[in-house]
Subunit: 320 residues, 2 copies
């Protein structure tokens, strides 16, 4: 009779769910579309239905279910209310913990998605063995989570860890948040695509030119990565610049928090080889020797499972 928990990774597009054991094994999975347009009531209803199925299965297999943890984009209060979410339109002051625990009759923990991801990596991934670390998620945007002395630092309003909105260039590129020169404006997949398209539109001619001949919507961070790996100079420069600004942010964190490890995760982590040199150069230049030598910079290990595992770990009481 093993203790298990349901871990949920709720995104703006996809929902991923898993049944997770105490040792962090995922023994069953469910996947579906979020369909935000249906409104929170229907989305939450579907979450309850799918999770119920997993919980029933767990019980019939002889497991004891400790609860459910869910990683959710947006501002989450300590008691699991979604104050507002950039990706889940219309989710305002939604008592997600209350609705899920009412529907499922089990304990529910709601956590910000980037925090859940960071907790997952710290428990079972690239953060294992480190007591204090910062996890970056480089994807459409740039998020993160800060774990200090083995505990997630959530901040007073659950808003801590916004590493994507460190100012890395005060008069720099416009960021989606309204500010100029945020890390996210340089080192997200969105920024990589935008900078490439801008350069091609500006007259640069490279192996990527054919991609946007029809539409710039054809460009992707993956295509830019592939071009860079084939030697395309523009693509290499765009990734090297992404690395440069990532390195500035990493150096800030090294100087501020003197942590043991930085974990680079999210879809863009696949292009780490194209950014690593620039990151290390900036950290070497900008951070003090002792904390810079202390801090290992590594890539994430759990891929899309980090959020499921981190949320489940919270529900299992394995993580704080």
């Amino acid at each position: 009779l093993a203790r298990v928990a349901v871990g949920v990774d709720l995104g703006g597009t996809n929902v991923r769910m898993g049944l997770v054991t105490q040792s962090g094994e995922i023994i069953a999975r469910r996947k579906g579309k979020t369909r935000v347009k249906d409104g929170p009531e229907k989305v939450v209803g579907r979450l309850i239905k799918t999770a119920s199925g997993l919980i029933e299965k767990a019980r019939s297999d002889g497991h004891r279910v400790a609860g459910l943890g869910i990683g959710c984009p947006g501002i989450i209060t300590a008691d699991g209310v979604v104050k507002v979410s950039p990706n889940l339109t219309g989710w305002v002051d939604l008592d997600l913990a209350g609705q899920l625990s009412g529907g499922l009759r089990t304990k529910v923990r709601v956590e910000n998605d980037a925090n859940a991801y960071a907790l997952g990596e710290s428990w079972l991934g690239a953060g294992r063995g480190a007591e204090s670390l910062v996890v970056f998620t480089l994807g459409t945007g740039v998020g993160g989570g800060i774990i200090l002395a083995g505990k997630l630092w959530r901040g007073v309003d659950g808003m801590a860890g916004e590493v994507g909105h460190i100012t890395v260039n005060p008069n720099g590129r416009q960021c989606g948040c309204g500010n100029r020169g945020c890390l996210e404006a340089y080192s997200s997949a969105t920024a990589v695509v935008e900078r490439t398209v801008e350069a091609l539109r500006g007259g640069r001619f490279t192996t990527l030119s054919s991609v946007i001949r029809q539409s710039s919507a054809e460009m992707s961070a993956l295509k830019v990565m592939e071009a860079a790996l084939s030697g395309d100079m523009l693509a290499k420069t765009v990734y090297s610049e992404a690395g440069k600004y990532l390195g500035i942010a990493v150096a800030d964190l090294v100087n501020l928090l003197n942590i043991e490890r930085i974990v680079i995760g999210g879809g863009m982590a696949g292009a780490w080889g194209l950014m690593e040199e620039a990151v290390n150069y900036e950290v070497y230049r900008r951070a003090f020797k002792v904390p810079a030598e202390r801090c290992e910079i590594v890539t994430a290990q759990l891929g899309d499972d980090a959020g499921i595992l981190g949320s489940a770990g919270l529900a299992l009481g394995k993580l704080e």
Copy 2:
């Protein structure tokens, strides 16, 4: 019979010492010159002598002495060894806690000076009532301390809290640390003087021109402040720029740590009125609404006593 502790603020130039009660009252004081040139042995010997006198006085007044706390510039290990110090030449791997406790036969806590200052303000000054705060010390350099959930965050090597070396302008002014564009290169007293002298040498003619007619060594951050308060445009611009870059660093911390309060301390805090508008503008532009509205920005209240009080508070077990 009240419990008291000795608090010491050891600087590169001055030593200040006080006998501090449980409620944070300083009931006796000693002051002297550090005279770093004499070497660590003599400096520590003088510290022991002065502290012995204070401890004897406390005992003859009927107090019980809990121990001694000392704030010291440099990298300090968890067991009170000074690894290296920028201000105390020749202090390398010096077991300050061991030497002081051996000489005084009392418990000794050694803490980084900016951390001790931050702890003092959090206990009895502008940080009272806040559980999580960041304290900036704007002086010759820019230092700081980070207090999260009521506890000082020291980092793995005691190096956390280096807010002065956040990069606020990646290709910006040269900083003493070797990096470019650190906060310290814009918002320290040193930077205010340098920028003013540079502008005057570059041909600007203002009420401050007469100050450097003999020697640029005559310029001080205080003179620039007085000129700014009298309406000197150059002086106002220099302080406003100091505020702008301070605001960028404050916004970074607001987004990263979602703290309750930022305390602006150190000698430059006296010019807060000349920087406040620029700081608030940058924070408003760059930080997310919820954590920015949460975070109060206030000036320090304890002046030169913050370090004595913070160190004594550690020795009294009032602070962690």
